[in-house]
Structures are given as structure tokens and as C-alpha cells.
């Protein structure tokens, strides 16, 4: 909202500098998003009359203009064409410095000299108009040589662009902002000049107003204005509107806009000649009704919206024939619009239910200055004051204006005004500091609250403009916020609290950090790939799987929640291959999503209006995925990486067991599942990305084997499923151990790790078993390979004898044989 300093000064005395005011407004929560200084740099600009225009030889874009600015003829080169001899335009003479610091100097072009610059409104920062020169005759009766500031009676001004928060309906006006400033600065707040009805007849003798839906329209006032002459507004009204960024239209419309900006009450003027029965009635729209709004769009009314909780309710204004004139508080229809021939005006100033306006405005995609204010809540007591102000303003251009007595004023339901009780100590309990009764009274009364001091408690009744103040405990918080705000947040104390409960990370969070550290230590670059992908991305992994979709994606290729991070990582890697930097390990710890129908235990939660529905939500699965994209990488690298990670996490026994590829992304014959030996839980998969996919997405690295680890972090973090090594350490035996190598010709069906575990458990004397060689050779029987283990024997109590070692060795060999492994 743009508010000029001069307008604010109509309401409150302000002597502070622009910077000081900005700081005060910010501190009041009326955040200044920008400041425009008007009239700056216009001091040297004067009114000049066009005396001659002629072409310049060889130039078709510019002409030579002769002007008089009071000191005889001046020749100026000008590119605009929107003027004629006799017009008055602004001239920036040589030496003038325009807004933005542009200094005018003598310029020569095409053999002629230009002695200054004729200006457009935009060049002077007076409006956005850059169609041509600013023609002053349209605005005033210009005098040659007069300063432009004087000619247009522009007083240098400062315009604040203020962002008003959603809970401050009262601050969406010059008067509202002035009220905050007056209270903060302890100044009095001036009231605007208001007109009194002066008509001989009563309003009821001319017009009628009715409310049929009192829940939607809390108040409808209709003022009858006769003898209206539609024409331009006085200069000060135009300036005020322009300072707020609004275009002047006509004195009637301008007065309506001015009152809205000044007091916060939108009003709507109707041409009484086109309102059947001169009757305005507010009622609920009926199904099937349509309205063509001012923007030319035909709108179906009372149609339930798609939005949650939107029943399709619309409040409309109808005439005496029950014909819809407009969407109440949002936008009018064309039929009763003010025109040049309007002589009688029905001025509507009303209160509409904020939620109804909000829903209608959202459903119809219609936002207006009026709807913005109504949906936040306009002061229900403001209507007639606004009408009086409207008449006061319009009367300046229409002195003979007649405002019929006893304006029509019908009531519906308006929000109840609560009485908020601040109990003794409430303020201190909320803010950490007590405020004196004087300060409380000063602030709240300044804001228009009624304050009564009871025994211990303070009873506070908000003004009707403060529809944001609730009742009960919430209302207490609302009032206390007002106290804190006006007292200034910066004056409140600070205290760093402490409590006996320890802080810290959960085991899972610690593990997540640890895993992240380990993978980064092992050379992984941590990526962040998109959660939302395309159907085609999804199909790469799970073409037949039900997917979780976003209803309103920004783009169609960002509409599906990922079910795996592999696709995103492969694409990210491929992109880096294209950049020539693809020799890397890329990893990510993140969440993937499963549609509730694809899982046996969906997540149930409450939702819907009032949280009354039970909803099935997608199951979220945290995973760790690493791609191995260097030229020497493969499934083998991935397995080695896994073994380090597994050791660092402290897992007990996890078997790497070849398995069916869990999705199309994996290489069908180079994929293994990671199985916890004790619990049988699957921790994830290790292997390679399907080479066909690699060729498809990264043709430049097509022959490369892309290793992969894809871990289910939920399982890894769960000690019930992913068995931990004992946290109790074993001190190695002080007696020397004997190391024996055993090589078995083993059927491929026997898993090397299984054989290793069997060996380890074959004798109590086994300290460790390590696979150190796998040997394939044609000389070995079909479907076998040689597995060589280094076995370490030891005892806690003694040095093992040769016989004991031999005996243990024999046990191990027998164990191998039982599994089909033959000692070489």
C-alpha cells in the first residue's frame, strides 16, 4: 500500500525525517518496502509554450521545436510528436538535474543545437506515462515560465510503500497507519472533515435498501446523492490518488477511491437511473445465476468450488427487479456504472462477511482493492462516516450536491465485539516484563480500545475496526501483541532460557550424520536431486507401479513424487559426464515415497475440515544412494565401499547375496541384496546400474560400469533389523596365534561368506576367517571356483600346540566338505 507523507500529515503531526519514519513504521510492523521521493529534482523545470515545430534535414525521428519559457525563444530537439503549437509542456533547461541525477547539457545533433529537454511525465517521475511530452494544458492553466512545481501545485512529498499484515485490516488505510503513528509518537489524531446530509427529502422517499442474507451482509447503507455532475476531480484529489498509485477517472469514482484509501471503507456508487426500483438488496446468490462482471467475463454464481471448505457461497447485490448488479464487495456489473450523464447516485457502503468475500474472490479469480479490504474485515461501523467523507470530497467539484437526509441503513449480523480480560500478571507472563497501567491505557486508548481497570484485571474492548481481536485466551494474546507492538519490541527484555532436560540428537540422527561423514570420507560428492519428477523418469524404474502425483505441478515433468533417488542421481551423473566432470562418486541421503495402495502399512493421519477425516498418506522411506561413476568403478568397487561403510556403521554380519534386480534400474546379473544374517532383513542393494540405461542416458560414457549402493536407511537405523556388533570389545589373546590358509574348490551355489561364517563357527579356537582369494580356472570342475581363506587360531589361555591347530584345521576342512567344498 502506497501512502504519502503529506496525506499522513493530514491526520498526525510528523516532524521526523524520512529515515526515522521508516524505522518507526518498520518497528510498528508496518514494513516499508520502498520509498519514493516525489518532486525531487523538479525545482529547475519550468513551463514552456511551443511556438514552432520544424523538421531537421536528414532526421526523421526528431524535430526542432521552438519554445518560449519566459526568456525568449529557445531551440530544442525533441523526439515526441504528441504536441502542437500553442501547447504548454515542461522544459528542463540547461543545467537542470532531473530525478535520478540526469543533468541537462547543451547538445548538438544533425547540425542544430538543443538547449534543454522537453519532458514526459515519466522522465519527471510524475507518472508512468511515456507516450509523449506531458501536456500541461490538460491538467491546469499553465503560465509560461512558471515553475512546474507551482504550476501543478506539487509539493515535494515522500511516498512509503507499506506492506500491511493480514491481521491488520484497520491499517489498510492512511487513517489506520496514522493512528499507529499517533499512538507511538504520543500525538493526537486528527479526524477528516465530514459532510452532513443536506437534502430536504428523506432517502427512503427516493430509494430502498434491504438485506436478505444477514449472515453474508452485516450492514448495508445507501446514500442518495442528487444533482451530481460527473467531471474531473480537484487537483488535490488527483494527486492523492496518483501518490497511491491509482488512476483518476471521474470525480465520483475518485471520491470513492479516495475514501477507501483514506479510511479503509470501500464504497460503490451506482447510477440511480439504471438501478431498477432504486433498490439495492444484498442476498445469497442462487444456483444458476450468472453475472457479467466489469471485466467482461460471464461468471456462474453459487457454484461449489474445488477448494477445501468452499461451499460456493456468493453474496450479490441485486436491484428492485431481483436482477444481479454485482458480486458484493468484489466487483460490480457494467449496467449501473457511473457515466458522464449520471445525475443521481446511490452510494453503497457496507460490511460483508470476510470469509464469504475471500472464498468468492478466490473461486472467481477476482481480486480488487475492495475485496482485499473486505476479506480482511472492514470496520462495520465505518459505512456512514465513509459516505460523509465521500460527500465532503465530491462536494468540492459539485457544490450543489444534495445528500438526502436519513441515509438508508439496514443491519445484518456483524462480528461480536469481545471484552478481553487481562488478568493480573498476564502481560508479564507473556512478555517477560510488566507494563504500567498508564502505559497500557495510553497505548490501548490511542488505538481506540476501551480500557477499564478492575480489581487486578484490566478489561479491554477493541474498537469495531479491530476485527482481528479474538475473545478469551486468544484475544489476550492479540491485545498483548498490540501492547508489545506499540511499546516497541525493541524495548522488551531478552533472557536466554535454560532447562534441565538435555538436548541432543537421536540415535538415528547420529547415525545419519555418521553415515554422511563416512561416505564423504570415502570420496562421495553429496547431491540434491529433485523430489518431483516426470512419468518418464518414474517409468525408468517402476513402469507398472502406482505413483503419488501432485495435483497442481509447476510443470508436467515435475508432477510425480520420486520412488527412488537412483533415477535422479543417474541423470545428475550423466549431466556431469556431458560437462566432462563425470569421474566421480555421487550420493544422496533423502526421502522417497510409496503410494499408500502399494504398501501394506500406509501412514494414517487426520485431515480434512476440522481434522475429521482419516487419510492414508504415502509411506516415506529415507534412503542412502551412491553411484560410482569413475572409469575404474563397477559393482566390485561398490561392494568394497559397502564393506567399509558396513564396518564403520558397526553392523554385525551382513551377507552380500546375488539377487533379482529390485527395479529396472539395476543390472540383472550384477546386483546383490544386503541381508542381515541374524534377522534376514534386507538393508538394500549393491551392484551396477543396468548398462542399457547407462548407454541411454550417458552415451559419452556408455561403456562405463556404473556401480551403485542403494540402502534403506530405515532398516539400517533400526537395531532390531540391522544387527549391531557387540559394543563390548574383546582384548586379543596374549598368546601367539597360528595362521592357516585353506583353499576350497567350492560349488558356485555355495556362498563365499556363508562358507566363511561356517568356518568361523567350526571351532572355538577360530579367531578370524578372511577370504583372500577367489580363483576361477578351466582346470577346476564345472561350476566351481577356488575360495582361499586365511584362518587365524588362538586361545585365551595358552599357546596352541601343533596338534590342537591340526585338530581345529581338520574340523574346518570337515565343515567345508559338508558344504560341498573340497580342500585343494
Amino acid at each position: 500500500m502506497k501512502i504519502s507523507l503529506s496525506w499522513l500529515r493530514d491526520f498526525v503531526e510528523l516532524t521526523e525525517s524520512t529515515d526515522e519514519l521508516r524505522a518507526i513504521l518498520d518497528d510498528l510492523g508496518l514494513v516499508v518496502e520502498g520509498i519514493d521521493v516525489v518532486g525531487e529534482g523538479l525545482g529547475d523545470v519550468v513551463v514552456a509554450r511551443i511556438d514552432g515545430i520544424r523538421a531537421i534535414e536528414g532526421a526523421d525521428r526528431v524535430r526542432l521545436v521552438t519554445v518560449d519559457a519566459g526568456n525568449g525563444p529557445l531551440e530544442i530537439v525533441c523526439g515526441a510528436t504528441n504536441f502542437a503549437v500553442g501547447d504548454h509542456v515542461p522544459l528542463a533547461p540547461i543545467g537542470a538535474v532531473l530525478p535520478g541525477g540526469f543533468e541537462i547539457a547543451e547538445r548538438k545533433m544533425r547540425g542544430v543545437t538543443s538547449n534543454g529537454m522537453l519532458c514526459s511525465a515519466r522522465e519527471l517521475c510524475l507518472s508512468d506515462d511515456h507516450e509523449g511530452l506531458m501536456i500541461l494544458d490538460q491538467l491546469t492553466t499553465p503560465v509560461v515560465g512558471e515553475r512546474l512545481l507551482d504550476a501543478l501545485s506539487i509539493k515535494p512529498d515522500v511516498i512509503f510503500d507499506i506492506s500491511v499484515e493480514g491481521n491488520r485490516p484497520d491499517a489498510w488505510s492512511v487513517g489506520g497507519v496514522a493512528r499507529d503513528l499517533a499512538t507511538r509518537l504520543n500525538h493526537t489524531l486528527a479526524a477528516p472533515q465530514l459532510a452532513q446530509p443536506n437534502g430536504a427529502e428523506t432517502s427512503a422517499s427516493f430509494a430502498d435498501a434491504r438485506i436478505e442474507s444477514p449472515d453474508l451482509c452485516g450492514r448495508l447503507t445507501v446514500s442518495v446523492l442528487r444533482g451530481v455532475k460527473v467531471g474531473p476531480s480537484p487537483a488535490w484529489v488527483v494527486q492523492r490518488l496518483q501518490s497511491a498509485g491509482m488512476r483518476p477517472i471521474s470525480n465520483v469514482v475518485d471520491a470513492s477511491n479516495l475514501v477507501m484509501l483514506e479510511l479503509g471503507q470501500p464504497t460503490h456508487p451506482y447510477d440511480a437511473a439504471f438501478v431498477a426500483g432504486r433498490t439495492l438488496c444484498a442476498r445469497r446468490a442462487r444456483a444458476g445465476e450468472v453475472l457479467v462482471t466489469l471485466d467482461g467475463v460471464e461468471r456462474e454464481l453459487a457454484k461449489a468450488g474445488r477448494g477445501l471448505g468452499d461451499t460456493g457461497e456468493d453474496c450479490v447485490i441485486v436491484d428492485g427487479d431481483d436482477h444481479v448488479l454485482g458480486l458484493a464487495g468484489i466487483m460490480g456489473g457494467a449496467s449501473s456504472e457511473i457515466s458522464e450523464s449520471t445525475t443521481d447516485v446511490l452510494l453503497e457502503a457496507a460490511f460483508f462477511d470476510p470469509m464469504t468475500v475471500a472464498r468468492s474472490s478466490k473461486r472467481h479469480g477476482l481480486r480488487s482493492e475492495a475485496s482485499n479490504r473486505f476479506e480482511r474485515g472492514v470496520d462495520p461501523q465505518l459505512a456512514l462516516r465513509a459516505a460523509a467523507r465521500f460527500v465532503q470530497v465530491l462536494r468540492e467539484s459539485v457544490p450543489e450536491l444534495e445528500w438526502l437526509s436519513e441515509p438508508l441503513d439496514v443491519r445484518g449480523t456483524t462480528p461480536e465485539i469481545p471484552t478481553v480480560e487481562l488478568r493480573s500478571g498476564d502481560i508479564e507472563r507473556a512478555l517477560g516484563v510488566a507494563l504500567s497501567n498508564e502505559e497500557v491505557a495510553r497505548i490501548l486508548q490511542g488505538l481506540g480500545f476501551k480500557v477499564t481497570f478492575g480489581s487486578g484485571s484490566i478489561f479491554v474492548i477493541p474498537p469495531s475496526s479491530r476485527l482481528d481481536i479474538r475473545s478469551g485466551a486468544a484475544g489476550r494474546a492479540d491485545v498483548i501483541e498490540e501492547l508489545a507492538r506499540l511499546h516497541s519490541y525493541r524495548r522488551l527484555p531478552r533472557r536466554t532460557p535454560s532447562w534441565p532436560e538435555p538436548g541432543g540428537l537421536s540415535d538415528r540422527q547420529k547415525l545419519r550424520r555418521h553415515v554422511r561423514d563416512v561416505i564423504v570420507d570415502l570420496g562421495v560428492l553429496e547431491a540434491w536431486t529433485p523430489t518431483l519428477g516426470s512419468d518418464a523418469d518414474f517409468d525408468l524404474a517402476h513402469p507398472a507401479m502406482e505413483r503419488v502425483r501432485v495435483t497442481n505441478p509447476l510443470a508436467s515433468d515435475e508432477s510425480v513424487l520420486r520412488a527412488t533417488m537412483i533415477t535422479g542421481l543417474v541423470k545428475a551423473w550423466a549431466k556431469n559426464v556431458e560437462r566432462g566432470v563425470g569421474d566421480v562418486l555421487l550420493g544422496e541421503i533423502g526421502t522417497v515415497f510409496a503410494h499408500p495402495v502399494t504398501t501394506q502399512s500406509p501412514r494414517f493421519t487426520r485431515g480434512g475440515v476440522g481434522g475429521a477425516l482419516e487419510l492414508k498418506l504415502p509411506v516415506e522411506n529415507e534412503r542412502l544412494t551412491v553411484l560410482f561413476g569413475r572409469p575404474t568403478d563397477s559393482a566390485v568397487t561398490a561392494v568394497a565401499f559397502w564393506s567399509v561403510l558396513c564396518g564403520r556403521i558397526g553392523l554385525a554380519d551382513v551377507v552380500v547375496r546375488n539377487a533379482e534386480a529390485p527395479s529396472k534400474l539395476f543390472h540383472p546379473t550384477r546386483t546383490a541384496e544386503l541381508i542381515d544374517r541374524a534377522t534376514g532383513a534386507s538393508l538394500g542393494y549393491v551392484g551396477e546400474v543396468d548398462n542399457a540405461l547407462v548407454e541411454q542416458v550417458a552415451p559419452l560414457a556408455g561403456s562405463r560400469r556404473l556401480g551403485i549402493i542403494d540402502l534403506d536407511f530405515e532398516v539400517v537405523a533400526d537395531a532390531q533389523r540391522a544387527t549391531r556388533r557387540s559394543q563390548f570389545v574383546r582384548v586379543p589373546s596374549r598368546y601367539p596365534s597360528a595362521v592357516v590358509d585353506l583353499a576350497f574348490v567350492t560349488p558356485t551355489s555355495v556362498h563365499a561368506q556363508d562358507l566363511g561364517f561356517a568356518l568361523r563357527e567350526a571351532s572355538e579356537l577360530v579367531e578370524s576367517v578372511d577370504l583372500f582369494d577367489v580363483y576361477h580356472d578351466a582346470s577346476l570342475p564345472q561350476d566351481t571356483r577356488s575360495l582361499a581363506y586365511s584362518v587365524r587360531f588362538s586361545s585365551e589361555e595358552r599357546t596352541l600346540s601343533e596338534g590342537e591347530v591340526a585338530e581345529a584345521r581338520a574340523l574346518l576342512i570337515a565343515t567345508g566338505t559338508a558344504l560341498g567344498a573340497v580342500l585343494r
Binding site: 477445501l308 471448505g309 519490541y489
Partner: protein, 357 residues
């Protein structure tokens, strides 16, 4: 009467089909293709011979020949597909590797320097600051119901305040009931509900996580971003505690010469509410373009828990009070590392990732 050039078409077609069925490799198929359906095939020869026919006869024969060609081509494609599958199956079989046989000690891999994600490391630094102040860390889901994301936070359905969040809705249940969380605040509600259910008040926790807003990405915003939220519910907690926590955090994270200040703001779930600002880290408070010459940079929102929120989760506001705050993790990273364009964060360019330690 001359015999039709197509008199033998059925037999010729069968012959071609037999040839196709006999291909044993993709190479053989590719080599023979011109003789089966290409320019040098019997089909092409027959096609040429049709030119001699009367127009009507030519039309009929052409259709007949076209049918035969389709049959042959279909068979060829089917065979090609079959052979490709067989070739792939054979290649995969040849490629088969028993990953249980990997001798880890014998694998040699190049050493490379890894790098943590900027967001992850920033999140960790922030968590560490709060953990040192006595906070726990809580995680929450990214897909939420409207109850947790909005209504329990005092943002009722169709309330204009919902417009403050550009929401992605998920196609599940009734329209607009399932959302990608637009902020980490729903995790607050889960925490408080759980604390009430398990009689585990007080709560002092921070909640980092990924959030989504339907907002076209630009240099300063991403549609996917990360927030960290803080929640304290305890006895005797006041606005002074909130301001103190913000102040302590600011100094711990940004440095002792960075200050914080609060200014009034509106959030439906807190009252009083505040926006918190910190000394501009670019100009150290002198005033520059980044801070619009104010010397301050807006970091996040905070406030005392609104009584309506306490009521929604069943906490007695006369016994307990609390505050919440939240701000962008990515934004902290952007401030600290002067990232000119946030979109670099999701491009995963190795040259970008390598810069972080």
C-alpha cells in the same frame, strides 16, 4: 490372358518368412535385410513389375503386395526383437558376477576427495548451535495432511491466510487434504500431540527439513527448500525467552558482532508474532544493496504460540506457554557463501559441489 506377376506371392511370402525365422543372429539379420524387404528383395522386384498392369488391376495387386510386405516386415521386426533379447540375455549371462565373491582386501580404488552437500552441512551447523543450547532435533514427514500443515496451525480451510503459502496438493483423498508441507511447522504439531499423548511436556526441539512451495524458481527462491523450525513449550516461557534464544543463536551462528532484532509481523500460529532480522552480513550493518540500505537482513519468523494452536493440540495454555521460530537453511547458506543463484544448489554440477568442505 497373361498370368499375374503375383501368382506366386503366397509361396514367395512363406519363403521370406522362413528365411526370417532362420536368422540366428542380429548381424545375419542386418546383412540380409536388403534381400528380404529392401531394394533387392523379391517384394521390390514384384512392385516394379506392377507397372505393366491396367490401372484397376494394378490397384488390386498393389494392395495385395502391400499386405504381403506388412506381414514380412512384422515378422522381421519380431525376429529382430527376439534376437536382440536373446543377445542381451547372453551378454548379461556372460557379464554375471557373484558379488559375494568380491575379495574386498584385493580391490583397489582411487582416492578421491568427497564433499558434503552445502545444505546438509549448513543444517548440521545450525543443529549444533541449538543442541548446544539444550534443544533436541526432530524430523517430520514431507507429505502432510491439511490438518497438520494448516488447520492445527490456526489456518482454517479457505482462510485467506492459506494464500500466504503457495501449496502443492497431492492427489490423494479429498481435494486439498494432502499437501507437500509448505513449512516445517507441521512437525511442531506432531511433537506437541505426541508430548501430550505421552505426558512428555516440556518440549525444546528444532525441526529441520525439506519443504515445498509452488513458486517458480529464480535466483533467490527454489520451489523445494529447507527450513529449520524451533519449538519451546515449558512453564513460564515468555517473549523475553524467545528474543533471548534468537539473540544467542544469532551470535553463535553468525558471529559475536552480528545482532538480531525483532519487529512485529503476522503468522496465524503465533501471537505476538515477529519477523527477526540480523545484521547484514555483507556490509556488517553499514547499509548496502543486499539489505536495501537498512543494515538488516530478514531471516525468519517467530512468536509466542497462539492459544488456538495450544488448544488444537490439547495443551493447557494457563500452565504451559511457548514460542516457535523458523527460518531458511538454504538462505543461511546463501548468506554465508554468497551464492549468486540458488538454482546452482539443485543442478548438482560437480564443479559446484567440490567447493564445499
Amino acid at each position: 490372358m497373361t498370368t499375374s506377376p503375383l501368382a506366386q506371392l503366397a509361396e514367395q511370402t512363406d519363403e521370406l518368412l522362413a528365411t526370417i525365422a532362420a536368422f540366428e543372429s542380429l548381424d545375419a539379420l542386418r546383412d540380409a535385410e536388403p534381400f528380404v524387404v529392401g531394394k533387392r528383395s523379391i517384394l521390390s522386384t514384384l512392385q516394379k513389375s506392377l507397372g505393366a498392369l491396367e490401372p484397376e488391376a494394378r490397384r488390386d495387386a498393389g494392395a495385395q503386395l502391400q499386405g504381403a510386405r506388412r506381414t514380412v516386415e512384422t515378422a522381421l521386426e519380431a525376429r529382430r526383437h527376439e534376437l536382440a533379447r536373446a543377445a542381451r540375455a547372453q551378454a548379461l549371462e556372460a557379464d554375471r558376477l557373484d558379488l559375494g565373491d568380491v575379495v574386498v582386501g584385493a580391490v583397489s580404488v582411487p582416492i578421491g576427495v568427497g564433499h558434503s552437500s552445502l545444505v546438509a552441512s549448513t543444517q548440521r551447523q545450525l543443529e549444533d548451535v541449538f543442541v548446544a543450547m539444550g534443544f533436541t532435533v526432530s524430523d517430520g514427514p514431507e507429505v502432510e495432511s491439511d490438518w497438520y500443515n494448516f488447520e492445527a496451525l490456526n489456518i482454517p480451510p479457505a482462510h485467506p491466510a492459506r494464500g500466504l503459502w503457495d501449496t502443492f496438493y497431492v492427489e490423494l483423498g479429498e481435494p486439498e487434504t494432502v499437501v507437500l508441507r509448505t513449512h516445517t511447522s507441521p512437525t511442531q504439531i506432531h511433537l506437541m500431540e505426541n508430548a501430550v499423548a505421552t505426558n512428555a511436556l516440556p518440549v525444546h526441539s528444532v525441526m529441520p527439513g525439506r519443504c515445498y512451495r509452488r513458486d517458480t524458481p529464480d535466483a533467490r527462491h527454489l520451489a523445494t527448500f529447507h527450513q529449520i523450525e524451533g519449538l519451546v513449550v515449558d512453564r513460564g516461557i515468555t517473549f523475553a525467552d524467545l528474543a533471548g534464544v534468537i539473540e544467542t543463536f544469532t551470535r553463535a551462528y553468525f558471529g559475536p558482532d552480528v545482532e538480531s532484532r525483532l519487529r512485529p509481523a503476522y503468522f496465524p500460529f503465533t501471537e505476538p508474532s515477529a519477523e527477526f532480522e540480523v545484521t547484514c552480513t555483507i556490509c556488517r550493518g553499514e547499509g548496502c544493496r543486499t539489505c536495501s540500505n537498512t543494515g538488516w537482513i530478514e531471516l525468519g519468523g517467530c512468536g509466542m504460540l497462539d492459544p488456538a494452536v495450544l488448544e488444537a493440540v490439547g495443551i493447557d495454555g494457563d500452565e504451559w506457554s511457548g514460542f516457535a521460530f523458523g527460518f531458511g537453511i538454504d538462505r543461511c547458506a546463501q548468506m554465508r557463501h554468497q551464492i549468486a543463484d540458488m538454482r546452482a544448489l539443485i543442478e548438482n554440477d560437480v564443479r559446484f559441489l567440490r567447493q564445499f568442505s
